[in-house]
């Protein structure tokens, strides 16, 4: 299982700080997340800062980044209001 930690608007909307899921890639994880909690679509979830084991997924293989059992994923949507 992959441990997913939510921050900001996701934490508020999903009403939980973390979630565990069986996912083999970031893309797979976001699809499962949007299916389980339809408040945000897969497309909307792509507007996120995503860290895999504390490494920005932009430095990895982005949505194709492989996930393994025990991996930790952090997901937040950057704030933009003022």
């Amino acid at each position: 299982m992959v441990k997913v930690e939510f921050f900001g608007i996701y934490r508020l909307s999903y009403k939980m700080s973390s979630w565990e899921v069986d996912a083999h890639s970031i893309s797979d994880l976001l699809k499962k997340l949007s299916k389980k909690f339809p408040v945000f679509t897969y497309k909307e979830l792509k507007n996120s800062v995503i860290m895999v084991n504390d490494v920005n997924f932009l430095h990895l293989k982005k949505y194709k980044t492989k996930l393994c059992d025990g991996d930790s994923v952090f997901i937040m949507s950057p704030a933009s209001g003022g």
Partner: protein, 210 residues
């Protein structure tokens, strides 16, 4: 340490872009640090819905320009020379920021933030980025040529900004001014690819490396 911070600000010119939720609080905190000059940009006027969180919005200032109201309020207590620009910052007037020591980002949309990033690169001015959404917010130091905003908002889109409460912009503004003060004093520990995230719902604060 306090003396060092106070001294380092005294001869600085600080621009604050936006005089709303974040901006009102930033302007207040910066004014009380007494820099050499404070430049305030905002083309909006106060409306009733701003009363819940925007420091210089009162029943008496509704309908008045935000930059002018901020100017009129702080000249009573700051030693800084205060210049208010009652219009939005756009590419064609961005030359007015040439010579500014630090820019405070108190805008409310990504388009202006990307403009600030290009101004930062062009004039080599650091920008103290801040943004809020609901009960959380973020702060970062955007150094010239760091492209920090592009890294933070890879898709150039964000989820809709939810309603917020008075204390959220106050806290994020406070952290922004703190980072500004430390940067000017040469004691900042925040790296150019890091940003601070603060969630007031769970009191969760972290530094994330982009």
């Amino acid at each position: 340490m306090i003396d060092r911070i106070t001294q380092s600000i005294r001869d600085k010119k600080i621009a604050i872009i936006g005089a709303g939720g974040l901006g009102g609080n930033i302007i207040n905190y910066v004014a009380r640090l007494n820099p050499q000059e404070i430049h305030i940009f905002d083309g909006d006027v106060f409306c009733k819905s701003n009363l819940n969180r925007q420091l210089f919005c009162t029943n008496k200032t509704i309908g008045l320009n935000k930059a002018i109201c901020a100017h009129d309020a702080i000249i009573d207590y700051t030693l800084a020379k205060v210049i208010a620009y009652p219009h939005h910052l756009i590419k064609s007037n961005s030359y007015m920021l040439d010579g500014i020591d630090v820019i405070m980002d108190a805008t409310d949309n990504l388009a202006v933030r990307y403009l600030l990033q290009s101004i930062s690169d062009e004039y080599k001015i650091p920008v103290i980025h801040g943004a809020i959404n609901g009960l959380y917010g973020q702060v970062a130091i955007m150094q010239p040529d760091s492209q920090l905003l592009s890294k933070l908002n890879a898709t150039k889109k964000t989820l809709p900004t939810g309603a917020t409460l008075s204390y959220v912009p106050a806290l994020i503004a406070s952290v922004q001014v703190s980072e500004m003060a430390k940067l000017l004093a040469g004691i900042s520990t925040l790296e150019s690819d890091q940003f601070i995230i603060i969630d007031l719902l769970t009191n969760d604060t972290r530094i994330i490396k982009l």
